[in-house]
Structure formats: C-alpha cells, structure tokens
Subunit: 395 residues, 2 copies
Amino acid sequence: MLNQKYVEMCGRKSAIRELFAYGSERAKEIGYENVFDYSLGNPSVPAPDSFTKEMIRLLTVENPVKLHGYSPSLGIDSVREAVAESLNDRFDMNYEKQDIFMASGAAGAIAHAVRAVTAPGDEVLTFAPFFPEYNPYICSTGAQLKIVPADITTFQINFEAFLDMLNERVMAVLINTPNNPSGIVYSTETIDKLAMILREKEEEFGHPIYIISDEPYREIVFNGVDAPYVAAHYSHTLTCYSFSKSLSLPGERIGYIAVNPACGDSALLVDMFGQISRGIGHNCPPSIIQLAVTKVLYDTADLSVYETNKNILYTELTKMGFEIVEPGGTFYMFPKALEEDAIAFCSRARELDLLLVPSNSFGVPGHFRISYCIPTEKVERSIPVFQKLADQYLS
Amino acid sequence: MLNQKYVEMCGRKSAIRELFAYGSERAKEIGYENVFDYSLGNPSVPAPDSFTKEMIRLLTVENPVKLHGYSPSLGIDSVREAVAESLNDRFDMNYEKQDIFMASGAAGAIAHAVRAVTAPGDEVLTFAPFFPEYNPYICSTGAQLKIVPADITTFQINFEAFLDMLNERVMAVLINTPNNPSGIVYSTETIDKLAMILREKEEEFGHPIYIISDEPYREIVFNGVDAPYVAAHYSHTLTCYSFSKSLSLPGERIGYIAVNPACGDSALLVDMFGQISRGIGHNCPPSIIQLAVTKVLYDTADLSVYETNKNILYTELTKMGFEIVEPGGTFYMFPKALEEDAIAFCSRARELDLLLVPSNSFGVPGHFRISYCIPTEKVERSIPVFQKLADQYLS
C-alpha cells in the first residue's frame, strides 16, 4: 500500500548521480587519480576563508540558544535585509526584506516558485538543453514541464519553437543562465526579446507569465561575457539563487527566492513560499548557515580555476575536431558527440575511464556534458584520453 | 493566477507563532523581563559544548570541499550508520544504515513518512491533544488527518473512540510521545494495547497500518517515568526524530526517519523518502550539521531545567486550584482553563502579560498550553501572575 508515485520514481534515478556512483566505485579499483570523472557538478574549490571564519566566530561568540534557535519561516530578518541590499547594490534593483525568501538552495527555490504560481495541470516551459532534475521539481507540483527544443547552433533561445508552444496555460517560463549543461550565458538581446514576447502574451492571455530564473551560476561568468541580471529586464521575475556554486557550499542547502517588487504582490508571494515550506515540513534553511552567508554576500570562492579549465578543454577538444559552442560561464561544456548515439559515445569514453554524461537527459540528442569542476592537473592529464577517444572516430 | 491553496493557507497561520510574535512586540514596549511568554516550544538551554566543539573542529580540520560538499540524498553514509548503531545500543534494535534517512527535523520526517505510506484520500489518525502543525504537514500530502478525541482524564489514548474511527482507509496512525501539548508519556500498557489493535486490524484489512512515531521529546522524560521505545513494540513503525529539543538545535533542521527493519521493505521506504525530497527540491539536511550531530549522538543539552520548571508550575498551579494531568516529560503542561472558553481565558491572561496558548487548536476545548522552556527565575516570577489570574475566577 505504498504510494506508487514514489515507488516508480525510485526506478528513475538521476543518470548523473548513477554515473558519479560508478566513478566512486571505479576509483576504489584503479585509484582516484586514474578516473577522469566529469560527471557531477560538485564545486572543486574550497569555500572562502571568510565563510569559515564567520562560522567559527558565530560558534565562539554568539549565544547558542539564539544562534541555533528557530528561524522565522521566511528566513531570519537581518539575513533577508542583507540579501535585498546586496542585490540592490549589485544590480541596481529595489528589493526590500519583504521580497526575499530564504530557501533550501536553488532546487527548493524553484520547486516553491512553481508551486506558488501554478495550479495542477498548468504548464511550465523550459528550454533545452536543461537540467534534468527540473523534471521531479516541476512534476511533483502537479504542473506540467514542457521542453522547448534547443537552438543547437548557439544554445541561446529557439524563439520560433518557443512561440509555437506558448499558450494560455503557460504560467511560468523556467530559464537557467548561465546554463547547465551548455555553459552558455543568455545575452541581453535574448533576455530582452524573451521579455518582450512575454509582456505581449501576458496582455493577450490576461494573466501574468512568470520568469523563474534559476541562477546558481550567476557568479561564474568568464572574462568579457555579457551577463544581464534577468529581473532588471522583466517585472514578473522570481530569481532563484543558490550559494552552492559561488561559495562552494552545495551540501549546506542555502539560497533564496528574490521576488521582483515590480511583481506587485511580492509580499504575498513570499508569504505563500512560507506556507509551502510549512506544508512539506521543511520550514527554513539552517539558522547558522543563513547567518554566516550574510557576512560573505559580496565574496566568492576562487572561481578562476573554472575559466582555466574551460580554456584548456575548449582549445584542445576543438583542435581534436570536436564541435563546441564556447561556454560563457559555469563549469560545464556541451560538445557534440562523435557519433549520433550519445549513450554509445559515452560508453566508449567510460571504457577509457573518462566519465561523460550523455545529452539525452538534457533534452538534446547527440551531445555530452563535461563538468570540469575538477583540478586543472587532472584536466590536463585527461587530454590524451580525449585524444584516444577521438582517434577511434576521426583517424 | 496564484495557487489559491497557498493563498488561503496564508490566512490560517499558526496561532502559536502569532502569539509569539505578539510577545516579541510587547517585550519591546514593556521590557523582555516583564512578558511571561509561555507560547513557543523553543529550547531555553544551550546546545552541548561537545556540539560546538565538533563544529569548530570540522571547520578547522576538514577539507572544506569535502565538508561542505553534496550529501547523498538519503544522508551521509557514516552518519546513517552511526545513527543506526546508537539506536541499537540504546533500544536493543537491529537498525542498519539502509533503514535510516536523514531528514530536516521531525517536521520533514513526518511529512515524508505520510507521503510514502498514503495515497491521496487515505486517512491518517492522530490523538487529541495534538500538535496543530500536523494539519499542514498531512493535508499537503493529499491524505486526510482525522482526530481521535482525547481521554482528558489521563491524556493516554481514548481507545473506544479510536476503535470507532479505525477503518480500512486508515494507512497510518500518528502518535507523539512524550506529547506536545500535554507533556504526557504513553505507558508501555498504552503502546502495547495500540500495537495489539493495529496488528488485528492489519490482518482484517489486509494491509499494513504504520505507526508514525513523532519523538522529538524522547530525551526529555522526567525521573521515574515509563517511556517505551515505540518501534520495539510494533513492526510497522516509522520513527521520526529531531535533534531540535535534545541538542537545542531547532534552527538547524536536523533529524531522521528510522524505519523498523521488521517492516520488511525498509530499504524501499528509505529510497522513497529520497525521491520525495527530490520532488520538493529539498535534497538533504545540511552536511556540516549531519556530521556534527554524529559526534554527539549520546549527548544532550542540560535538560534538567525543564523538570525543575515543571515541578514549580505543577505544584503551585495545583495549589491555586488548577486541574492538571502531571506531565511525564517535554516542556509542556496542559491544564484545564478556569472557564469553558479557552480563548477568553487566555485573553484575560494576556492582559496580565502572561502568554498562554488556548487549547482549541490542539483539538481539545477548555484547556491551555504552558511551554515552560524559559528560565526558572522567570517561572518563579510568573507564579504571582498566575495567582492574580486565578483570583479573577476562584476568589
């Protein structure tokens, strides 16, 4: 008499997590240094010292009853205020405390945002290639996730396909820029065009269409790349942020939803997020982590290694004959596979202990994802292995 | 076009949280020391030093990439193993790692447990008086929460009413011992009788009926009180635990579900919990907190103050003429109000800056809850205020 929905989900586990588990087992056999594991988006650089110092300071100086006490369900007031202020400083916005909801990473933020602005049966559109965990996040709310096919020449938005799919049941458009898995950053032109279309359709359909903007990679943008702040371009924007990548804290589950005050009903939306948390028994992100990140809102881990790794991989793989749209940020790259069947291609790679994720679960055929959040020396040692793989096809 | 379910929930906020908010405002006016705030179950004693030391040690010694890295979605392996072992040591059980799921406090644990063992429309029974947040936790799953009326002479189980309500749509029985709000601990006799009835009904109905045992107060049991470990008495038990009260860490959102291996399908259930987390975007409790509590599984905060406070209040209020079933644990007491209308009674108390929660939201009329997790000196200073209140009725 178990709930069959969840029993069935057990059979549809994340391909990425499964590949990562394989890599961990394989490392036990042949040594960690010999597995070129490009499977998981787990940051490879330490959290900034300022975070660690603030954690130790809080533990040393603060009254533990207060420090570890219940957080209000929308987040600690001072934390929400500081987040609003930092966004205003950086992006010239007008957030106030009441517009900020502290969430359990971007995952929790997205799931809450979708629950708030859709009813069961409503549609949410997202653009391929997309993060496959959007499926459980959105499907569990009762809304339907529809995938707009990719523009594989640029990995910007395929507007023609988007317009075909944009109907009045669409309540939200979920975007992810900088993008996992392509590494592409949507340009100002792309965002402005998207905003213009949505404003027209809002008028036509007579209801808001929210942009749910998934931005965990916002701080990982490479030199000179145009990376607009989405909410500055569109009123009905719910910005879902995580500190997982910028501060290298993926396990500590901390992020927020910033509701653009131009939404009009931002305080109500934030209040609704609190009720959604209450319903799932989740309540709030950990108090001490909320307080600690507040002191490092303008810091990041040393993220420069990701650009270094990108440059090596992009240069070398392109030289070998791989077709790649050059990433503008993140720690992902999404080259075209050397055969049509991405799964077969990645299986061949795996025989060389090179772990690549086939593109199928990202909604695009014939590509693969490289998560290059690994040490640079390992990236360098992996180049001859990529060459061996390429030689099987190209020589 | 916002989701009306959550909009409506915004109008039905926790009476306890609202009273607490009133108390905080009132404290700003007349001074914190002059408000006798018995509203909130927020532990008043510090976390044990051993926890703080372990947190600082982890932050100082561990590799931050590993320390703050993603937790597996069921919890960190070593943490799950240590939790299983500690339960086996203390309660003579046979848990293994695969039976333990790390959860975001007891709230998250209960919500997950209910989602796993019910389908929408199924019934979950609980016993008055009950923690009112069970309403959002259970209703959000699609299951129905039905309240078995209280046995107000003992606050043990009203078995007659229970048997009347136990039908084949009941998939789970949610119990909370030691109990919030009564402070009562279910005796071995109560648990055995409950187990016997459920075993009979499982056979009759041809499906399991799970006990979801909400045990955040397990470690707060007063001298000499019989406090059986529920799972040791019934196979289909899902034990929902939180470290909030035992370690004074309510803000850090850490607990677990221990699935009795005698359930048979414990590993599947734990796997389902992981999928439920995935669906709500929650994923896992914070990594560093998981690791830190593992080192203090046999410790508690200094919980003795709660028994001291109970003794003062029970003795003095009984002397004044209040009728009280003496608590066996927790930091709650649930006396009979001095008039039928508990809300009117608590309003009168509030005029004396004595904040008491009326019993209505706990599913029992004519009582009130005292949360005596406040400093003993304040408990002592509150006695003349209780006397003033009693005098309005009894003199």
